[in-house]
């Protein structure tokens, strides 16, 4: 097996758009199943009452990460041909902070807001318009912030290389961290539920 298939020219660009659409359907379906079409559910992550965001996100990351690792180990997937962005540390840290603030203010992230909008959430639709406005402002300001945008360029950084650990070691650490976070989330949810029922009486 020679994956990624597209990178080995197994199908054309036009077919890749069909693939995109199908993968998108899977993505949207999963997001809606998880409750990510509702800003209240997404936001409750940040008040420790419903930790679905963390649970879904980290189970997805762990699943895909394990899948990639074993596909590479079986020689099925050439990881060097799988695209991911270069690391520009400071802009990404600042961008992440802005995005986090936007998450709790707006209640969605771009992917989830699509699902929200299509399932009738007016705030989701407005959020999407906001996203486009933000992108427009970014584009207009780009000449001014270009230097900052491309600062601290570290190139393509693979976490195991950066940490000086083996790939398998980092995979195990991420799995353990995720399982730990899940356990903490379950415990936290029970605590919050108990506290809430106590307050309400």
């Amino acid at each position: 097996m020679n994956a990624p298939f597209f990178k080995f020219d197994m199908f054309s660009f036009d077919i890749s758009l069909v693939v995109a659409f199908i993968i998108g359907i899977g993505f949207g379906f999963a997001l809606e199943r998880g409750g990510f079409g509702s800003a209240r559910i997404l936001a409750s992550q940040f008040y420790f009452t419903d930790m679905r965001v963390l649970k879904v996100m980290f189970s997805a990351i762990v699943t895909a990460m394990l899948g990639v690792f074993f596909f590479v180990a079986f020689g099925w997937l050439d990881l060097s041909l799988v695209y991911y962005t270069d690391t520009n540390m400071i802009p990404q840290v600042v961008g992440g902070l802005i995005l986090g603030v936007g998450f709790v203010v707006g209640g969605y992230c771009p992917g989830t807001s699509c699902v929200a909008a299509v399932t009738g959430r007016i705030d989701g639709a407005l959020y999407l318009i906001g996203v486009m406005a933000g992108i427009f402002i970014f584009g207009e300001l780009f000449p001014l912030i270009e230097n900052f945008y491309s600062s601290t360029d570290m190139g393509r950084v693979f976490l195991p290389d950066y940490l000086g650990m083996s790939y398998g070691m980092v995979v195990l650490l991420v799995v353990l961290m995720a399982v730990g976070a899940f356990a903490a989330a379950e415990w936290g949810e029970r605590k919050m539920a108990a506290k809430k029922s106590g307050v309400v009486k």
Binding site: D9, F70, A73, S80, L81, T85, S166, Y167, V175, L176
Partner: protein, 221 residues
């Protein structure tokens, strides 16, 4: 039996966590999934490729590509750095044979290998093929043939019109690459070859990963 019932009776969350940890531990034991040292080969397929000679690129083909500034391939000089610095084909990059698997080449790229003669590039071709690189070719005759046919094309004194016409074209190509066309008379073999010292200043494909990457659009989110 009791153990089985106990396991089946566990909450789905616990089961999933156990599977994840098990797979994580397996990953930890495998440790490094990238195996760059070993390969499995399909000998029949390779033998067939060799027999059908679909693994070659001729020097005049390559010269044509360079002149036309084609960029869909990477030209790789697998000799040592010292040899590379003395002379190399314009647009080539130096990846010594021992560094072939250091991650500079991608398995979906069109790669053309050359060495001094043909032997080293043939061996490197075999190694890359064994590692499942898709589009690997070697320059037939290597640098020797490149010098012979492209840089210093020869014409006998009593050549036919046809040969003369072809020599005209060859001379033009030769000068393009900074070479010197040779006219060889009968018995005496006075071939004064001077290898072009500096790579001629012509627009050639860089051939680097940056060059082949689509510069039109970004891939990410």
């Amino acid at each position: 039996m009791k153990l089985l019932n106990f396991i089946l009776g566990l909450d789905v969350k616990i089961k999933l966590a156990a599977i994840a940890i098990f797979l994580g531990l397996t990953a930890f034991i495998i440790s490094d999934p990238f195996d760059n040292a070993h390969a499995k080969i399909n000998v029949k397929e390779l033998a067939l490729i060799v027999q059908n000679e679909v693994d070659h690129v001729n020097v005049d083909e390559l010269a044509d590509w360079i002149i036309k500034s084609k960029t869909d391939y990477r030209l790789v000089d697998i000799r040592t750095e010292k040899e590379f610095n003395e002379y190399n084909i314009p647009g080539s990059e130096n990846i010594p044979i021992t560094s072939l698997f250091d991650g500079q080449l991608a398995r979906n790229e069109k790669i053309i290998l050359y060495s001094e003669g043909g032997i080293h590039s043939a061996q490197a071709w075999f190694l890359l093929k064994a590692k499942d690189f898709r589009n690997v070719y070697m320059l037939r005759g290597g640098l020797e043939e490149w010098k012979d046919k492209i840089l210093f094309p020869k014409l006998g004194v009593n050549a036919s019109d046809d040969e003369n016409a072809r020599f005209e074209i060859a001379s033009a190509i030769s000068r393009y690459f900074g070479g010197t066309p040779q006219i060889v008379s009968g018995n005496e073999i006075t071939v004064s070859v001077e290898i072009p010292k500096v790579a001629p200043k012509i627009q050639t494909p860089t051939g680097s990963a940056a060059g082949t990457a689509k510069k039109k659009k970004r891939e990410g989110c």
